[in-house]
Subunit: 144 residues, 2 copies
């Protein structure tokens, strides 16, 4: 493990709420987020950009991102799903998968924009989400 | 064309700066953006979410997104590439591919956050970018 990895919060995670884990990627729930169901799909290796991965690795990662999207749509019926790979602060490849609702604090802007209104509380059934996630990720190989 | 499509700015584009176009997707440059090289990859059909596409269509679209990322990295040497599919305002599938530099107005936040500083001007060689884009998109089928 090199210096960048030793100081990387995604290489050295601290109390993640793991929803699914495989050898190359994991899915965690951002548990304190006001955006209920906000997930992060994290590539296990310390790599910065999608185009640093091989074509096969990119597909593996995106298949998981889209499975998470499918599970969130099924479990939460959001107005829209937002997907983003930014990594400006932590240059370790990870995808934000964010269920958006028309009444959430920043809608229809990105969640990083200034809030337009107060965030309404929204319940999350973690058991149902885990089940939807396992089903969607389990279905990846049938679909492709 | 239904009502949603008739009022959709991505179905009815107005003066786009087209960098590449295929039957299923096109790549446009956001010409007035202070983020030089900011591109949008637009799915031609009026569809909202990645998981509304078939697995094959998702791969076609992501292959183009990653080709645009590769071209922008080659042409502009950005600090980081940001990828995002939001669609809260225009629910017609499109990807933002944004070259970020450590001195840009919002870095290391998302470009939708409040600016931290003035945006420095940055030149863009549109000819070189078009060439890098054509090469990267042309290389998709060799790589996969």
């Amino acid at each position: 493990m090199n210096v960048a990895q030793r100081s990387c919060p995604l290489c050295q995670p601290d109390r993640e709420t793991l929803l699914w884990q495989g050898p190359q990627a994991r899915v965690v729930l951002i548990k304190d987020s006001p955006y209920a169901g906000y997930c992060r799909v994290i590539w296990q290796a310390h790599v910065a950009e999608m185009t640093d991965l091989s074509v096969g690795e990119r597909r593996q990662l995106m298949d998981i991102v889209f499975a998470v999207e499918a599970a969130l749509r099924r479990a939460l019926l959001p107005t829209k799903i937002n997907l983003a790979s930014l990594g400006n602060q932590v240059a370790h490849l990870h995808w934000h998968v964010i269920p958006r609702h028309a009444d959430d604090a920043t809608f229809p802007d990105a969640i990083w924009a200034a809030p337009r209104r107060e965030q309404p509380p929204r319940a999350l059934d973690l058991g149902a989400l885990r089940q939807a996630m396992a089903a969607a990720i389990g279905a990846i190989h049938q679909a492709s």
